[in-house]
Amino acid sequence: MTTIMDPTDERVPVTRQLSPRPNQITGRVALLDISKPRGSVLLDQLEEVLAKQLPGVTLTRYAKPTFSKPAPQPLREEIHQDNDFVIEALAD
């Protein structure tokens, strides 16, 4: 038997589970712009449509400082704390 040393970060391999999908959207929805060109165009339109279709829902806009780096921790916490749903615009 050969023994080798684990070259990875040794996270337990877990298959990520999707969050349960509710039948209707209520509460607070974050609209996250990752700051790629024209992401804001997509979100503007989406915000308009959602505001009409889901009048009871609070829509809040957020933006990453730059698309090329991970979102700063405080922004992730803020979005998580203040929202029930996130719609992220990956665009070009």
Partner: protein, 527 residues
């Protein structure tokens, strides 16, 4: 006085026996293929008959077959304990068999007998008998030789010692150990686990990882940082494991460590470099004395294959990103076309053929320091062929024309580049005593274009948007724009063989704060 190791070993009947605790005891290490061990078997048996009621006496053998054979041949009263894994022999620091240890009540080694010296063994028998108020050992001492040397313990055999050192308590390696079934092929196993970049890997056994760690004086558990995208913790040990897999020699490890530290910086931004749909990847340039010490290629085919240091250092860095950071194609590594440089891209600068300041000195280091510089490329090396220019100005002009195509011909102020000037081109430049700053200035001059030529048009919609251009006055449209934002965005090194007039250019990726800024790190060598 040293203490004896704690152990739990099986005897010949398969019963588990624990090391003596809180009592005087005798432990003797033997192996079957040692004539002296065979000679002392009757002596050990006589000791056992006399003392085993008063104190535990453990005879530890180093091979399973040998233990069985000795038991059959000598029929002793004791059952030999199985240390075929050799871990107890190693922990007790046994170099010779037989070695007999007498432990005091605190578990400390009170005396050690190595090999067989009759006087010593006889004296031990007397003193133990006196302590226990017993009669002497029932043995015809005159039938025994006065002296016999012992034999080498299997625990110091070169075939076993590195493995034992790696597995021992206090070993610098702490990573999770993965046992590969004896019927499994280890190379196939590593492919199946997703450890590989697509090429076979060297299995990172504990022995190899320990040998790799001998290449650095740094603590194996020192944390270098967190590698994106998974923010996996990168320790010196994890780098060493990946360096083994890549095929590195231990003396390359300091270069790999410095390169990993460089890409872990916010300036370098490995997250963006891996995630981008452009085929970006690190290019590693090595400067300083270590180039020669580890045999790097900086001459013929410096950017190509065939040199172990160049090939495996670059590969090791990429494997750390893949395995510790979790950047894998199709997951967070999302390059549209990919890039062969993502396997490996590392070379050394031929400083001795460079009449100008070498890269690391330009970047603030001392000439005698060894330094790694990491640049992000998105394509290249693209050759710029010029066999005809005979003046520095003409040659830099050709390079400028070639570099105009970086990213796309109308992409201005968009990125940086790493220009690898070949020796024959260096010679042409030196005819006119053309310096690095002259080359940069000339490249900018030749590739500069009036703004109006860079506006999106029917031929190509890249460049400055028509709406923006519409707001400009004539003077603004006539203004000349340089290809690179700053002259310093043209990084220049020397490499390649003495024959050939084709310099190479690595085209950059997005540069500045939202992209990747080149980073240099001093290489900490073992002194």
């Amino acid at each position: 006085m040293a203490s004896a190791p704690a152990y739990q070993l099986e005897n010949l009947a398969g019963e588990s026996v624990k090391s003596p605790h809180g009592t005087q005891a005798i432990i003797c290490f033997i192996k079957e293929d040692c004539p002296t061990c065979k000679e002392v078997m009757p002596v050990l048996d006589a000791f056992y008959q006399r003392f085993s009621q008063q104190m535990p006496m453990h005879i530890i053998g180093q091979t399973q077959e040998g233990n069985a054979a000795l038991a059959k041949a000598y029929q002793p009263g004791f059952s030999i304990l199985d240390d075929s894994a050799l871990q107890v022999s190693f922990a007790a620091d046994i170099e010779t068999v037989p070695t007999l240890l007498v432990l005091d009540q605190a578990g400390q080694i009170a005396s050690t007998l190595v090999g067989f010296v009759k006087d010593e063994w006889q004296q031990l028998a007397s003193s133990l008998s006196a302590d226990a108020s017993l009669e002497g050992v029932d043995l015809d001492w005159t039938s025994l030789p006065d002296w016999r040397p012992g034999c080498g313990s299997l625990s110091v055999d070169p075939a076993n010692e590195p493995r034992l050192r790696a597995m021992a308590e206090g070993s610098p390696i702490r990573a999770r150990r993965i046992d590969i079934g004896s019927k499994d092929d280890e190379v196939e196993f590593m492919f199946d686990q997703g450890f590989s970049d697509g090429l076979p890997l060297v299995p990172p056994t504990p022995e190899r990882v320990l040998a790799m760690l001998s290449g650095t004086a740094r603590d194996s558990q020192e944390v270098l940082g967190e590698m994106a995208p998974n923010l996996g913790v990168v320790t010196v040990e994890k780098v060493a494991i990946n360096a083994v897999m890549a095929g590195c020699k231990p003396e390359y490890l300091p270069v790999v460590l410095a390169a990993v530290e460089a890409i872990l910086t916010d300036d370098y931004n490995i997250h963006g470099v891996m995630a981008t749909t452009m085929g970006a990847s690190p290019v590693i340039v090595v400067n300083g004395p270590i180039r020669h010490r580890i045999g790097m290629n900086m001459g013929m085919s410096a950017l190509g294959q065939g040199n172990r240091a160049n090939a495996t250092i670059g590969r090791a860095v990429r494997l750390v990103v893949r395995n510790v950071g979790g950047a894998r194609p199709g997951e967070t590594e999302r390059s549209t076309l990919g890039n062969p440089m993502k396997f490996t891209m590392c070379f050394a600068e031929w400083e001795e053929r460079n009449p100008w300041t070498p890269l690391h000195v330009e970047r603030g280091f001392e000439a005698e320091e060894s330094v790694v510089t990491v640049f992000t490329m998105s394509s290249g090396p693209t050759l710029i062929v010029d066999q005809d220019s005979r003046t520095g100005s003409q040659l830099a002009g050709t390079l400028g024309q070639g570099l105009q195509a970086v990213m796309s011909p109308k992409a201005y102020f968009a990125t940086d580049c790493l220009l690898v000037v070949v020796p024959e081109h260096v010679d042409t430049f030196m005819r006119d005593n053309y310096k690095k700053e002259d080359i940069r200035r000339r490249i900018q001059e030749v590739s500069a274009r009036p703004v109006r030529e860079l506006v999106a048009d029917e031929r190509s919609a890249t460049g400055i948007k028509a709406e923006s251009a519409a707001k400009m006055d004539e003077a603004s449209l006539d203004k000349m724009m340089t290809k690179f934002r700053r002259d310093e965005d043209i990084h220049i090194v020397v490499a390649g063989s003495d024959a050939g007039k084709f310099s190479g250019a690595f085209h950059g990726w997005v540069t500045g704060n939202i992209g990747s800024i080149p980073v240099s790190r001093k290489i900490e060598e073992v002194t």
